[in-house]
Each structure stands twice: as C-alpha cells, then as structure tokens.
C-alpha cells in the first residue's frame, strides 16, 4: 500500500480536522515490495504484469486449445478478438500480405489492454503500464523490428533515403534531414512508449485524486457537498478510463502496424 492511500484509509483524516489533504503524487507509483530476494524486490506491479500475461495466455488457451469448425462461446469470443485486431488494425495499414504480423499485433494489443485494465479492477487498481519498465520492452521490440524490416526490405541506403521526402528545394534539406532521421530513430519510439505510459499514469493519478478527495472531504458539514461532487467526478473519470485503457492499446498497436508498413513498403 502506498503512503497516501495508507494515510487515507488508515483513518480519520478529513477536512476541517486540522489535517491537510494527502495529495497523491509520484509516491503512489512506488511500491513497497511484497518480498525481497537479495537486491531483487518483488512488487505489486510485477505481480499484476504476471497476472496480465497469464490472463492473456489463459484466455487464448481456453479459446483456441481445441478449435472447432462450429465454435463454442469462448472460441467465438477469441475469434472475434483476433479478427477485430486483424480487420481494424492490421489490414488497414498492412493489407492482406501483412497477415504474418498478426500474432505480434494480437500479443501487443491484448497484453497492453489487460495491463491497462488492471487500473479499473477492484483490489488490483493499478495500471501496470504506468510503470514504464513494462512499456519499454514492447517499444524496443517494435523499434528493432521496424528498423530490421526497413533495412531488410529497402536496403540500408534505400531505407535511410526513403525516410526523407523527395521533391523539396535543397536548402530545406538542411533542416529536413536531421528532423526526419530523428523522427525515425528517436521520436517515434519515444512517443510510442511515453504516450501509453503518460495516459495510464495520468489516468491513475486522476482516479486517485478524486477517490482520495471524496474520502477527505467527507464530513458532516458543507464538505459533504464537495465529497458528492468529487465522487461524481471519480465515477466520470472511471468511465473515461474504461475507454482510455482500450484506446491506448489500440493506438499503440495501430502505430506499430503503421511503422511496420512504412518499413516494408517505403512511403510514396
């Protein structure tokens, strides 16, 4: 349990009782370990990450273990899930010949989605992806994959040349070349990771702020009114986050598909 949560849950820290608002912050993302092995500290986000992986593997194992021509309920759901990724994410940017990337995109989408959704499940209540240590591995995988594909499909020189748009007056290239190279080698992977991390980080912070404030403002005074307002906002943010968790997984996967497509086929 984090400091602020412990303080709030621990007791009667309410408004007008001479107690300051235990504002949530960075400390809500630092966990005291469950147990320690030497230098290694096993924390709640790690447990949730393992759970997320198990959920994804378990679900698809249950759905596709013995696939039938006439699917059962779980299999239908699994089919819908992977076909949604294929038809909404993969096909629009990669087309039919990109179907071999489907396992990669499906893994990304559902692993990220389940890690995000941990934010909204009672007891877990923490988005794993708001710890950036769980985001960079996927970003690096995508990064190395699209660089590798680019060099493989277009050749080293061709890939670098295709990064720069053609048909521009030459003085512009003085700015354009470094910007475009930076875009492919630094900005794209950085924004890909930070976008996901930042959204989940901010979402968790918002949820914490409004739930803590609801508890903090709760007293038999005018504070009750504030508490109700804060509670309504907490509900609103919760609903918003159900959308954001899905949206961020979708955006990450869609951008991955786009990057792969731009490596496999140079932009026109």
């Amino acid at each position: 349990m984090t400091g602020a949560l412990a303080a709030a849950a621990g007791g009667g820290c309410h408004i007008f009782s001479g107690c300051g608002f235990p504002a949530p912050g960075l400390q809500d993302f630092i966990w005291t370990p469950f147990f320690t092995i030497g230098q290694f500290q096993f924390t709640k986000p790690m447990l949730l990450a393992i759970l997320s992986a198990l959920v994804v593997i378990g679900f698809f194992w249950a759905a596709f273990r013995k696939p039938k021509l006439i699917p059962g309920r779980t299999q239908s759901l699994g089919e819908m899930a992977i076909l949604a990724v294929r038809d909404q994410i993969l096909r629009p940017s990669l087309g039919r010949k990109g179907d071999s990337y489907l396992p990669f995109l499906v893994s990304l989408f559902f692993f990220i989605y389940i890690m995000n959704v941990m934010e909204l499940i009672p007891v877990f209540q923490f988005p794993v992806t708001s710890r950036i240590g769980f985001v960079w591995p996927m970003v690096f995988t995508v990064y190395f994959l699209y660089l590798y594909l680019g060099f493989m499909h277009q050749g080293a020189w061709g890939y670098l040349r295709n990064m720069i748009p053609a048909g521009v007056p030459w003085p512009i290239y003085i700015i354009l070349v470094p910007v475009e190279l930076l875009r492919f080698f630094i900005f794209q992977p950085f924004t890909l990771g930070v976008r996901l991390f930042g959204n989940m980080f901010a979402g968790h912070l918002l949820l914490t702020i409004f739930t803590l404030a609801t508890w903090y403002l709760l007293s038999l005074s005018v504070g009750l009114l504030y508490a109700v307002g804060s509670f309504a906002l907490a509900i609103f943010v919760f609903v918003l986050e159900t959308l954001v968790t899905l949206l961020q997984a979708f955006i990450f996967t869609t951008l991955t598909a786009t990057y792969i497509a731009s490596s496999v086929e140079p932009a026109h």
């Binding site: 993302f29 630092i30 769980f134």
Partner: protein, 184 residues
C-alpha cells in the same frame, strides 16, 4: 513515510526499473511466443477449414441448383414433345376418321345403288312377265267369256249382268294368284 519521500526524490518515472524491464520483456515474449506458436496457428487453420466448408457448401448448393434447372429444362422439353406428339396424333386420327367415314359412305352408296338397281331390274322383269302372261291370257279369257255369253240365253239382261260379275270375280281371283306366284 520517510523512506518513501526519499524514493520520490530519486524516482524518474520515465526511466525503467531494470527488474521490471526484464520481467516485462520475458512476459511479453511469453505471450507472443504462445500466440505465435500455438494459439493463432490453430485458430487460423480452423478458420481456413471453416471458410472452405462454407464455400464448399455454397458450391454444392450451386451445383444442385444447376442440376435441378437442367432437369426442369429436360422435363419441359419432354412435355413440349409430348404435347406436339399428342396434337399430331389427334390430327392423324381426325384425318383417319374422316377418311374412314368417306370410305364408308362411298361403300354404302355403292351398296344402295346396287340394291336399287337389282330391285329395278327385278321389277322390270316381273312387269315383262306380267305383260307376257296377260297377253296370252286376255285372248283366251275373251274367247271364254264370249262362248259363255253365247251359250246362255241372251234374253235375260239380269242373267247377263250376273255372268259379267262372276267373270270379273274369277278374273280377280286369278289376278291375286298370279301376283302371289310372282312374289314367291
């Protein structure tokens, strides 16, 4: 609380904690490995099979429909043939009937003509015969009548009248006998 505050000071949320990075990498590749090696190949194969099954079913249905269409065509043409055949046979029967009637009529006419001719010939022959017998008999009858008249007394007119009557009655009798003989 104090050690948490210390941690906050040194915590940069954009830098990964290395244990998490390692665990995250392992977990992602576990998920990816499972889906790429086991999960998706199986379901893709099944989806392919289902696609084939559905397409095959549609093809089979198409074939059956084409066959049904062909059979229908065949039946239709057979029905048409039968209709033509029936019409032809009716026409033929009508012709044949007309022919038969005409033939019959002709034969009946010939028969009736033959009968009439025969009757006329017979009548003519009888008449001839009657004329001949009359010619032979009239003479003798007249002689007989004259001899009787002469043989009796001529004074009595009443007796004369009776004699004439008796004679005529005899003649009548004779005539019927002659006619009966001719009819026989």
């Amino acid at each position: 609380m104090t050690h948490l505050a210390d941690a906050t000071a040194s915590y940069n949320p954009l830098l990964p904690s290395w244990p998490e990075f390692v665990i995250g990498t392992i977990l992602f590749f576990l998920v990816f490995g499972f889906l790429a090696r086991i999960g998706l190949p199986r379901i893709m194969k099944t989806l392919e099979e289902r696609h084939d099954a559905i397409e095959g079913g549609i093809n089979r249905a198409d074939e059956a429909q084409a066959e049904a269409q062909q059979v229908l065509e065949q039946y239709r043409s057979q029905l048409d043939d039968a209709r033509h055949e029936a019409a032809r046979m009716r026409e033929e029967a009508r012709e044949q009937g007309a022919q038969i009637i005409a033939e019959m009529r002709e034969r009946a006419e010939a028969e009736s003509r033959r009968i009439i001719d025969a009757a006329q010939a017979q009548i003519a022959a009888e008449r001839q015969q009657a004329l001949a017998s009359l010619r032979t008999e009239v003479g003798s009858l007249a002689v007989e009548l004259a001899s009787r008249i002469v043989g009796e007394s001529l004074a009595d007119t009443a007796r004369q009248g009776r004699m004439v009557d008796r004679f005529l009655a005899d003649l009548d009798q004779q005539g019927t006998r002659v006619r009966a003989g001719a009819g026989r």
